[in-house]
């Protein structure tokens, strides 16, 4: 069973997917300062199903290329600090099956 592909971690799960990334982000953290000073939990780094958001000491890194475009971050950010749009037509995630 050693050859069996498991896709346990989020990195491995994301690797199963096809993305056609746009050159610019469709997700914008409006103010890193809000994340830094008002948001101890940085909850988006937890509930985002693709781990798009990663806190890097003083700023939020947004790996928009792996976004599933679900909308959770826009709704779940307690400070309404995320500007959320769809990627340009034909770009972003491309589901092949489900």
């Amino acid at each position: 069973m050693s050859a069996e592909k498991k896709a346990v971690t989020i990195e491995e799960k994301q690797y199963l997917l096809r993305f056609k990334a746009d050159t610019k982000s469709h997700l914008h953290v409006l103010s890193s300062d809000v994340c830094l000073t008002q948001c101890p939990d940085k909850i988006c780094t937890i509930f985002c199903p693709a781990e798009v958001y990663k806190w890097e000491e003083v700023r939020m890194h947004v790996g928009y290329e792996g976004c599933h475009e679900c909308g959770s971050c826009r709704i779940g950010c307690p400070h309404e600090n995320i500007k959320w749009e769809y990627p340009k037509g034909g770009h972003g995630i491309v589901f092949r099956l489900g």
Binding site: M1, E4, K5, K6, A7, V8, I10, K13, Q14, L16, L17, K20, D41, I43, I46, F47, P49, A50, E51, H68, E69, C70, G71, S72, R74, I75, G76, E80, E85, Y86, P87, K88, G89, G90, G92, I93, V94, F95, R96, L97, G98
Partner: protein
Amino acid sequence: MPDKFDVIVVGAGPAGISCAYHLAKSGVNVILIERGEYPGSKNVMGGVLYRKMMDDIIPGFYKEAPLERPIVEQRFMMLDKESALTFGYKGLEWAEEPYNNFTVLRAKFDQWFASKAEAEGALLINETVVLECIVEDGRVIGVRTDRPDGEIYADVVVLADGVNSLLAKQLGFHKEFKPNEVALATMEILKLDKAIIEDRFNLEPNQGCTIEIFGDATKGILGTGFLYTNKDTLSIGVGTLLSGLIKHKIKPYELLEYVKNHPMIKPYIKGSEPQEYLAHLIPEGGYHSMPKIVGNGVIVVGDAAQLVNAIHREGSNMAMTSGILAAETILLAKMTGDYSENMLDHYRMKLMDSFVGKDLKKYKDATHHFDKFPQYFEKYIPLMNQAASQMFTVDGSSKKEKQNKIWKDIGSAGEKMKIARDLVRAWRVMK
């Protein structure tokens, strides 16, 4: 491409395609705008498609549509850490025409369905995002897309743009949703040999099984897990209110791994190979979260109108019915040339009078209730498991002694009163 159509439909999912199909078939000049590379490329669901509503649109569709398996058995698992209380129904009447429901993979199904709308004369445009509705004198007269010179005009715009429905929000039809109005679902498609699936789930070829999983699948948070059989894959997933993930600080993909590794689930998926991982929101606010669904020159359908029955995992069927009712209303409006809110309100009335509106009303307080009182999932499912274990374990004590022990283990008289009250409350929101 002309810039004026009779109708613009935004979004090629079940609601939008149904609407465009029906309009095109009736000779209406309709454009269907999809932001993905192809219809289905942005669309996710657990995988159950109900036959009836689709059959109303394309009779006998199951003879040619890319379906996975007709469902002959629906199981429900009440899960604890190392046990499960399971019940279900299997009926061979579901194994033959006209069938009850099927598992589907949406990327395949939606492409096929959209191609049927195209064959009827609808113009499908992929890879195009609708940025906003064009409003003039309080009336929606078209849409602005992200294409160069991308303004398109129509008598009516149908918003089938899915759960996030940024367009309905822009029109002021709803405010931003709250984390307790949406469920975040993650799922995986797992490859597994056909014959193994059939052995493991006790199925004949071309028969399928669905398992809904409650309780420990979501670590007691309000939500459900699911495991569905496809032809040569399984769909496994878990969805909880976004507010639940936030409150308990749980990573959704870790919850999915938890389900996959649960001792009651793991043997079902053993030896399978992940093919795809998907995340999507489900509108679960129900009746109370419905936006305004009709305006001057505009109609909202499907997930965008929050048409999901979370208790019965229905949604795509409601989307289809809403799409057809929208199309029928537009045909009426076309006869009089009146596309005012007043005229299009016919759609809202028809929808609320159909099973869609009736079921939304029936369960209007259910999600809120189970969200507000977490003991159903956190405490009562483990209690049920313990009671079953107690009753079915033969250890020399009499059945009466066992009953007394179960009764005692429930707790004080106060605890018992609380459970009785919760049962009554649950009955009230579900009846």
